[in-house]
């Protein structure tokens, strides 16, 4: 059990916590934030596992993946928030209508 695994397991905990929020919260902003925290957990796992190299330098390939992923996550979040605002404008509520009413 090295420090890298401690960080990676923290990432797993973040992912699970945020997944709990994703399925239990109704407000769409909470759901968008949950997906963001889940993504942060994944980035933490990838970054931590990149430190398992025998030398002092981390593996640059996973780090490049994380940098790419952060930008995609920000873009997806922005799109999600704009769609949420449209849902609020259309239905008056920032949440999805219950499934059984359709």
């Amino acid at each position: 059990m090295t420090v890298a695994f401690l960080y990676a397991l923290s990432g797993v905990a973040l992912f699970v916590l945020a997944f709990h929020a994703l399925v239990s919260r109704r407000h769409l902003l909470h759901k968008i934030m949950s997906v963001n925290v889940m993504g942060s957990g994944v980035f933490l796992i990838i970054g931590a596992l990149a430190r398992r190299t025998p030398t002092a330098d981390p593996d640059p390939v996973p780090l490049a993946l994380v940098i790419t992923g952060i930008v995609v996550a920000v873009a997806a979040t922005a799109l999600g928030i704009v769609i949420m605002l449209r849902v609020q404008a259309a239905t008056g509520r920032p949440e999805l209508p219950p499934a059984d009413r359709n």
Binding site: M1, T2, A4, F5, A8, L9, V12, A13, F15, V16, F19, H20, V23, S24, I45, L49, A50, R52, T53, P54, T55, D57, P58, D59, P60, V61, P62, L63, A64, L65, I67, T68, I70, V71, V72, V74, A75, A76, A78, L79, I81, V82, I83, L85, R86, A99, D100
Partner: protein
């Protein structure tokens, strides 16, 4: 599903998920060679000295190209579903306006420095683009209007510049008999700097415009 799952089912699901993921992480070898050694061996043909930049813009340039495409696509999607909300006055006090006037030139300078330092240390197009976006957000919050005419073609070209330059370079190198995005080692440093500069502008513009939450009202065709 007609009703929300019960608490017990949810906790069982979460424990299974967390346990499975934790087990998957712990089952990995504690020391792994990774691809760092391979990257180090080929660093001299990448045109840059920073291994992360070498991976991002050269060895795995395809990922970065697609990622810039995703950013452009997100902007197009945001513009398709919404127009910019009308500006509300209120935030722009004299302190903020003064602060922005002092800070923004330094932020642009910092973005340029981050872009340049990406070739040999931490930094690069993403970091520079985010600083540019932050500078643009400060200007927006201070209440400065978009310059007249900038909402049309100049803005759109800026948004797509990174994708266009990256794609253009990727296609142009194929005329010398190389693969798509395979940068010639002698030119790689300059090409990477050019791609990163264009990408930083597009990333900064996309993020700042995402904050504005929609298509500019004056950016309809013909304006």
């Amino acid at each position: 599903m007609s009703r929300a799952p019960s608490r017990a089912v949810l906790w069982l699901l979460l424990l299974t998920l967390g346990g499975g993921l934790g087990w998957a992480v712990l089952s990995l070898p504690p020391v792994a060679q990774g691809l760092g050694e391979q990257v180090r061996q080929h660093l001299q043909v990448s045109g840059v000295e920073s291994p992360v930049t070498a991976v991002l813009l050269n060895f795995r340039g395809y990922d970065t190209l697609l990622e810039i495409a995703v950013l452009a696509l997100a902007t197009v999607a945001i513009w398709s579903v919404a127009t910019m909300p009308r500006r509300r006055r209120g935030l722009a006090g004299p302190v903020l306006v003064f602060f922005v006037q002092v800070l923004v030139p330094f932020m642009v300078l910092l973005a340029g420095y981050l872009l340049w330092s990406g070739s040999h240390a931490e930094g690069g197009a993403f970091q520079a683009g985010v600083v540019l976006a932050a500078a643009a957000l400060l200007v927006i919050l201070a209440g400065a209007p978009l310059p007249a005419g900038a909402g049309g073609w100049p803005l759109r070209v800026g948004l797509m510049l990174g994708l266009l330059v990256f794609l253009g370079v990727g296609v142009l190198v194929t005329t010398t008999g190389r693969n798509f995005l395979e940068l010639p080692p002698a030119w790689a440093g300059g090409l990477i700097l050019m791609i990163e500069a264009a990408a930083a502008i597009s990333i900064g513009a996309s993020l700042a415009l995402a904050f504005r939450g929609g298509r500019p009202r004056n950016a309809r065709a013909g304006s």
